[in-house]
């Protein structure tokens, strides 16, 4: 079935695609159809240029040298912080901490805040929808402190079962860590509602923003979350860029995570004192060029407009859901596009996801097959793995058509 590309008001997909050099490559003799942006997004030329320009013209370590290059590098690095803070609505740029992204961020929070303040009898509330990176660091913190883990379950539709909030979120709950967007089910939980519920019992809300910040307009003041993690590589930025936002008082009271250079104020034989926030959390030479590249990605996204980004994804994901269901696929996650993003997990006929992904690769289509670091979700729905197609600003309905056509080929091999 051929469709005419309907252009959303502000997003000209063909022009967007022209900004991404990798999208003009082929896989064998097929054009690349990249449907794995939930794993990592592709990068526009502007981001690649920003990183190259940094290395070619401004490269030096930051916050160190008394010379022009170092000052320029510091200005670019701190400029990136201000840019990213603005993107998520943080009024104080220094409440954005840089690191490699969400995994490192949740470890920093579970270690620096969790191990310092949790104690036996306290509860950590998670959900069955969490990525392993929002489970394992809390398991480690629970083991170290004697705190207990609790989980909110998932409904058949792939939403969080909020009817359990009343019994699971209690005065014992000290922290509630929840995804802002499921990387396998696509679900967007109602973050503000969860923040209010957490605060009502005196708990903090940690939001795994890996699949949220790239896809929806985000304002930390509106969400009222206490922590929000950012994975730069999933929002058109370089790998190992991003970090986390936290309310300033939390950054002041929690412990650092990585010890080393720059994060100290003074070092003595027996102890050290910490640098001011955000330096306290940025020990060692940082991912300077990557954060500068991420700032360029934010510029690019702001140029598109996050409302347009969201509208485009909703349209493409909606079309994909419709066509997949029409083809007889089983969808994991909500089919109502108003509560979900562009990550679409499915099982097609009896074809194992690994076999399906291999066949799709022959057609130039890149999808993810496996448990997506969501073993609790897989167990909830009784499958070992799913195939996941995930969509972003550069994906088209034609690519959805290519996916559906290739499913037919898989069926002819395995049916």
């Amino acid at each position: 079935m051929a469709v005419t590309e309907r252009r959303t008001a502000g997003l000209d997909v063909e022009r967007v695609r022209a900004d991404f050099p990798i999208l003009s490559r082929t896989v064998g003799d097929r054009p690349l159809v990249y449907l794995d942006s939930a794993a990592t997004s592709q990068k526009p030329r502007r981001v690649l240029d920003a990183e190259r320009d940094f290395y070619e013209r401004h490269n030096a370590n930051v916050h160190r040298g008394i010379y022009m290059l170092s000052e320029e590098a510091t200005e670019l690095y701190e400029g990136a912080r201000a840019k990213i803070a603005g993107f998520i609505g943080a009024t104080d740029a220094n409440t954005v901490i840089f690191n490699r992204g969400t995994t490192e961020s949740i470890n920093a929070i579970a270690h620096g805040w969790g191990r310092k303040f949790l104690k036996e009898g306290d509860e950590i509330l998670l959900t069955d929808m969490e990525h392993h990176s929002n489970i394992v660091p809390w398991q480690l913190a629970a083991k170290a402190t004697g705190a207990t883990l609790r989980y909110i379950s998932i409904t058949d539709e792939g939403l969080l079962d909020l009817s359990e909030l009343g019994s699971l979120l209690t005065e014992k709950t000290k922290v509630f860590a929840v995804t802002g967007g499921s990387n396998s089910l696509g679900t967007f939980p109602p973050v503000r509602q969860l923040a209010d519920a957490a605060h009502a019992v005196g708990a903090l809300l940690v939001v795994d923003g890996a699949q949220l910040v790239p896809h929806l307009p985000v304002d930390v003041a509106e969400l009222d979350c206490d922590f929000l993690t950012i994975s730069g590589h999933k929002m058109l930025g370089p790998t190992a860029s991003g970090g986390f936002y936290a309310k300033r008082e939390l950054l002041e009271e929690m412990d650092p995570f990585i010890g080393g250079g720059h994060m100290i104020h003074e070092v003595f034989r027996e102890y050290s004192t910490w640098n001011e926030v955000p330096g306290k959390f940025e020990g060692g030479t940082m991912n300077i060029a990557q954060e500068v590249g991420l700032a360029a990605a934010v510029d690019y996204l702001e140029g598109l407009g996050m409302d347009e980004v969201r509208a485009h994804e909703e349209e493409v994901a909606g079309y994909a859901l419709e066509r997949l269901l029409g083809a007889g696929a089983r969808i994991f996650g909500p089919t109502d596009t108003s509560v979900r993003g562009g990550a679409v997990s499915f099982w097609y006929k009896e074809v194992h996801p690994h076999d399906l992904a291999t066949i799709l690769n022959e057609e130039g289509i890149a999808v993810r097959a496996g448990h997506h670091c969501n073993q609790l979700v897989m167990r909830r729905f009784g499958v070992p793995a799913t195939t996941r197609a995930s969509f972003y600003v550069y994906n088209t309905k034609h690519e959805v058509d290519a996916l559906i056509e290739a499913l037919g080929k898989a069926e002819s091999v395995f049916g």
Binding site: H352, P353, H354, I359, H371, P384, A385, V413
Partner: protein
């Protein structure tokens, strides 16, 4: 091209019509393993005597590579000594890692799995059955070594 190589008719045949896919309830040797990456699961049952494999079967679920590999394996090791099974297992691993160019006489239908070499992430699917068998035989191997035969 690669599609034909990896999904040769042999693989699909073994996937759709697996050989020796049954439990041996009173098997002396049995072992189960799974590959959490994709959820492939295989249980192998072995009847052995005097260091010789008399009957091998498997049950499990997973992708075409893991399940066809298990099916082919059961056919290829039946009647071999534990030592010979060990050698074949090493050869199959060599083929899957691209270090050995398989000799059809030695490999038989197992040659069909050669194409997996191009998909490094799926080599784990193909070797799973062999890992399970080797672990199941570990007890028998030790017994055979001390056997008076």
């Amino acid at each position: 091209m690669a599609l034909d190589e990896i999904y040769k008719e042999v693989i699909l045949d073994h996937y759709k019509n697996p050989r020796n896919k049954r439990e041996i309830p009173d098997a002396e040797l049995t072992c189960s393993k799974n590959n959490p990456l994709c959820g492939d699961e295989i249980t192998v049952y072995v009847q052995a005597d005097g260091g010789k494999v008399l009957d091998v079967s498997f049950v499990g679920q997973g992708c075409s590579i893991s399940q066809s590999s298990a099916s082919m394996m059961t056919e290829s090791v039946s009647g071999k000594t534990v030592e010979e099974v060990g050698e074949l297992s090493t050869s199959v691993r060599g083929m899957l890692s691209g270090e050995i160019e398989p000799d059809e006489d030695e490999f038989g239908e197992l040659v069909a799995l050669k194409g997996v070499v191009k998909y490094p992430i799926r080599v784990k699917c193909a070797v799973l059955a062999w890992d399970v068998l080797q672990e199941a035989l570990a007890g028998e191997g030790a017994a055979a070594g001390t056997s008076p035969h």
